[in-house]
């Protein structure tokens, strides 16, 4: 078992989230917003998708030293299960579900003569004798059987759940919501099972320039995306919130100092700061080679530093908005009433100001989350993003960028990263929206 820095942080973040949601469950007055989230179709479906993504990310965050190979390679649980896909790499590009390579080369035929043509792939569809005739039938057969197996598994599990939990536990939510959530769950599992099943025979989303499976890359990128989105936010949020509401509430010299800090930080080009700190980390790692003896440790360190520096450079925007909002809120009469009741400033900040700026925080966090995933792609382009060996959607887009000009076009890398990024960001957006609606007491009436 090897614990990388980002692994540890991810699990700490997860445990905080879990304890928080457990403590929320007990509060009497929070029952209504929770019930609202639970009964909302959009919220539950997007939560399901999010949980699915997070589960994959978590599987990918449990690292251990592989015992099968001699090289002492550190792999994650996900890598371990996906060993065949991970190791079966082709020579170069191949299209999704193709039995042939995407580029022509000189082939030696059985009779000894040579021919200029598309070679068969080493691993994909190697069980077929005559791909042209059998491919379609074989793919549909395997897809159907994978789908059925996955579907069977879901049905079995849901029957099991139903057996253990009686109906009372589900009375919290509507029948309609359960139905649609179950339906989404059903398709999500069945399709993923189908894709996994197919992956052992084909490259479902093709291969990239060095012949690696794009589907595997996209799945591995989930962890990178989640880490960048969540860790950066975790660093940025405390800074933005404390500084923002303090500057707005106390005014005077506190406000002056905080404003100076963020104006200064804002006036330094962010890219420059990021490039400098990434270079610093690289120099540090080069000087302490014995501590960073593995490729994965090095790339993890770089990822962590990227999150850190992105967090430090990106809190100013939210801080500014929160300061302005707090300036408005502090003049509200309920704040003055609290002052008249002798409530301490810290309590006023946490009880009166913070809950009333939370909707802004939630919206900007979700927007930033997607912006950060995208920023990673941009930074990879100028080589100061994540390590080139780290799987990330940014790296995928970056490498696919040049191939857009190629004829015939290589589209699958871009499409794969787009689909995964899109579904993650969309789910996060929709879920955050429903959470905000549910916890805003003024909105409860409108949507009733």
């Amino acid at each position: 078992m090897v614990v990388l820095w980002t692994d540890a942080l991810i699990f700490i973040l997860l445990s905080i989230l879990v304890t928080f949601s457990l403590s929320v469950r007990k509060k009497a007055h929070l029952q209504r917003p929770i019930k609202k989230i639970v009964t909302s179709k959009t919220a539950m479906i997007s939560l399901l998708v999010l949980v699915f993504f997070v589960a994959i990310g978590l599987l990918d965050s449990i690292h251990f030293k592989s015992s099968e190979t001699q090289t002492d390679e550190i792999i994650s649980l996900l890598d371990y299960w996906a060993t065949p896909i991970r190791e079966q790499s082709e020579k170069t590009y191949s299209a999704p579900f193709s039995a042939y390579s995407y580029s022509k080369e000189t082939l030696t035929l059985a009779n000894g003569s040579t021919q200029w043509g598309y070679p068969r792939l080493t691993f994909a569809a190697s069980h077929l004798k005559n791909p042209e005739a059998e491919l379609l039938f074989d793919v549909s057969k395997k897809a159907l059987s994978g789908f059925c197996k996955g579907a069977g598994l879901v049905i079995f599990l849901s029957l099991l759940l139903r057996y253990f939990f009686n109906k009372k536990d589900l009375s919290l939510t509507h029948k309609q919501t359960i139905k649609s959530v179950w339906l989404v769950c059903f398709f999500l599992f069945a399709i993923s099972y189908m894709l996994v099943e197919l992956s052992s025979f084909y490259h479902v989303l093709g291969t990239d320039k060095v012949g690696e499976d794009v589907f595997f890359q996209a799945i591995k990128s989930i962890r990178t995306g989640l880490v960048i989105g969540s860790l950066t936010t975790m660093i940025m949020l405390p800074l933005a919130i404390t500084f923002g509401i303090m500057a707005g509430f106390f005014r005077g010299w506190v406000d002056d100092i905080i404003q100076y800090i963020y104006t200064t930080l804002n006036s330094i080009p962010g890219v420059l700061l990021i490039a400098a700190s990434i270079l610093m980390v690289q120099v540090y790692m080069a000087n302490h080679a014995e501590d960073f003896n593995s490729l994965i440790i090095r790339s993890d360190m770089r990822l962590l530093f990227l999150c850190l520096i992105l967090g430090v450079t990106s809190w100013t925007g939210l801080c500014r908005i929160l300061r302005a909002e707090t300036l408005k809120l502090r003049e509200m009469e309920y704040v003055q009433a609290a002052q008249a009741l002798g409530v301490k400033p810290v309590v006023i900040l946490s009880r009166h100001i913070l809950p009333n700026v939370m909707h802004i925080v939630l919206i900007s966090v979700v927007l930033d989350f997607s912006a950060l995933v995208l920023a990673e792609a941009v930074l990879s382009y100028i080589n100061i993003g994540v390590d080139p060996t780290t799987y990330s959607w940014g790296n995928m887009i970056n490498s696919a960028r040049l191939e857009m000009a190629r004829d015939p076009i290589v589209w699958w890398s871009l499409l794969a990263s787009f689909i995964f990024m899109f579904s993650l960001v969309l789910a996060a957006n929709l879920f955050a929206d429903s959470v905000r609606n549910a916890f805003d007491p003024r909105r409860t009436e409108e949507t009733r």
Binding site: A338, A340, N356
Partner: protein, 534 residues
């Protein structure tokens, strides 16, 4: 009577499934003043908006007929309707500050209407604008024409609004609470202006108001609206003589009257012993800073050398117009606004000299109830949490059970249901919210409550209830009130003593009957004259 100018038959407006205007019929005759009276939420503004087709998109509208000079307004196309709005029917909104465009000069804003409806040359338009400004009695129109709304006072802004409305030479002027946002003296001026303009032009005036006293001086006919229905229509003299509907009667009964102060038992007060609060030479100055180094060049004297005494279990009303410094004084006493000089003695302890932990003790002695019950409570806190906040911060030794019991007791005192504890403020009406605010203030058992216009955001009937509650609490707990208000009728109802404030100074101080019935200072006289009396 002649032919009706505006005739509305069976008008109904509904939002979703809730009917806000329910099958109402009324007429407005040429050159008369018709008043639609009702409490907030009774549907009077919606009625006016639906006649002008300005309803929000969510509203469902239906009517048998709406005619303007025998011409049906229902069948007119939207593009033709623009020629009626502003031209034949004009509208004045409640708040002149938000109805004027802050980045256009008032001259341009008036000229805009003229250019839309009349085909005039530039000089003619300009002359018309001057004429209108003179008509609404704005001093020095040559200068005002190039000024922006923020350079004008509230009363002048409302005059500009009236000028804009008059620019189209309308047959009907709808005035939706035209003076609610204004001071009493300004209100009197605006109303007399409206009257004189009506006499000059012969247009009909449709006045929408919640204030029966105001309406009694203005209107020829009155219609009372309740829950979307017109419950009674009558000519003004007949209405005030023999109103029939129980709701009209309850409205009339709820009106605070100036006469109620007469014959109040004037008890002998032992000056020294029962004196709860003694304010001496209290000053709040705001510095005016100018120049590069922000030197203090002058001060705005918001509260200028104010002294008064407040006796226990008595009510001192602080009366004055907006901007006279009465709210600043109230907040200054609680140290919500830093004061410049002076002493505040509560039970012979100087509050201004307190520091550190003793401030907390003072907090439990003086509390405040604010004007706007909508802004005075954190929308994200439960009512229970709001009420117990003071107990938590000032008496941390009280345990949860006792605290909750106390909250329940407080809710009972302000006549709210026990179930309110687990609900949010927005689920309550304005009057109920003000009760919650009072409960919050009472929670720390204060000796003095500063009431900053606690009833001016409320309807008349609700206002009467809240005043009654204040009186009951005073009798039960012996609390003193510093009652800040602009409404002299409310003063007559509740106060024992009155202090009249003008430009940061107290100009008259005395027993309520003496001040209201035999005012000495000419400003007090002016205030009293401006109050509309039935």
């Amino acid at each position: 009577m002649d032919q009706a100018l505006l005739q509305v038959k069976n008008l109904s407006v509904a939002f979703k499934n809730e009917k806000v205007v329910d099958a109402i019929n009324f007429e407005v005759y040429p050159s008369e003043t018709f008043a639609l009276v009702g409490e907030s939420g009774s549907g009077k503004s919606i009625t006016a908006l639906s006649v002008l087709r300005l309803l929000p998109a969510a509203a469902h509208f239906s009517a048998t007929d709406i005619t303007l000079q025998n011409e049906s307004l229902l069948t007119i196309t939207e593009s033709n309707f623009c020629k009626i709005r502003g031209r034949r029917i004009a509208f004045i909104f409640q708040d002149p500050t938000s109805s004027l465009n802050p980045v256009m000069t008032i001259g341009d804003q008036i000229a805009e209407v003229i250019q839309i409806h009349f085909n005039l040359s530039k000089t003619e338009v300009k002359n018309t604008v001057f004429e209108l400004l003179r008509q609404v009695e704005i001093p020095v129109p040559e200068r005002r024409i190039n000024e922006y709304p923020h350079q004008l006072s509230g009363g002048q802004r409302q005059r500009v609004m009236i000028a804009i409305a008059l620019a189209g030479k309308p047959d009907l002027l709808i005035a939706d609470e035209p003076t609610t946002a204004l001071d009493v003296t300004i209100q009197a001026q605006i109303l007399s202006l409206l009257k004189s303009i009506q006499a000059q032009t012969g247009m009909a005036l449709w006045l929408i108001s919640h204030d029966l006293a105001l309406v009694s001086n203005m209107a020829d006919r009155i219609a009372v609206m309740q829950n979307g229905k017109i419950v009674e229509t009558n000519t003004t003299p007949l209405f005030f003589k023999q109103a029939k509907h129980p709701y009209s009667l309850s409205l009339l009964a709820a009106l605070p009257s100036m006469q109620s102060c007469i014959g109040k038992t004037v008890e002998f007060v032992e000056e020294q012993e029962s004196c709860l609060l003694k304010v001496e030479n209290f000053k709040v100055y705001y510095p005016i800073r100018k120049g590069f180094f922000k030197r203090i060049v002058d001060h705005v004297k918001a509260v200028d050398d104010v002294s008064f005494n407040l006796y226990s279990a008595k009510t001192l009303a602080l009366v004055g117009e907006s901007g006279c410094g009465k709210t600043t004084l109230g907040k200054g006493l609680l140290r919500l606004i830093p004061h410049t000089a002076g002493r505040v003695l509560l039970n012979n302890i100087d509050l201004t000299a307190l520091t550190g932990s003793t401030v907390g003790k003072m907090c439990s002695e003086i509390q405040i109830v604010f004007q706007d019950p909508f802004a005075a409570m954190n929308p994200r806190m439960l009512v229970g949490e709001i009420i117990e906040e003071g107990i938590k911060s000032l008496h941390p030794e009280i345990n949860i059970e006792q605290r909750q019991q106390r909250v329940r007791h407080l809710l009972q005192q302000v006549e709210l249901p026990q179930t309110a504890v687990l609900r949010y403020p927005h689920e309550f009406s304005g009057g109920q919210r003000q009760r919650i605010c009072i409960a919050r203030a009472l929670a720390v058992e204060p000796k003095l409550i500063v009431c900053d216009e606690p009833t001016s955001a409320l309807d008349v009937s609700v206002q009467a209830q809240i005043i009654k509650l204040f009186k009951n609490l005073q009798q039960e707990h012996g609390i003193s009130y510093l009652f800040i208000t602009h409404d002299l009728a409310v003063v007559a109802e509740i106060a024992d003593d009155v202090a009249v404030m003008y430009q940061g100074k107290i100009v008259e101080l005395g027993k309520v009957e003496q001040v209201l019935m035999h005012p000495k200072h000419q400003y007090t006289q002016k205030l009293l004259d401006a109050v509309p009396v039935i």
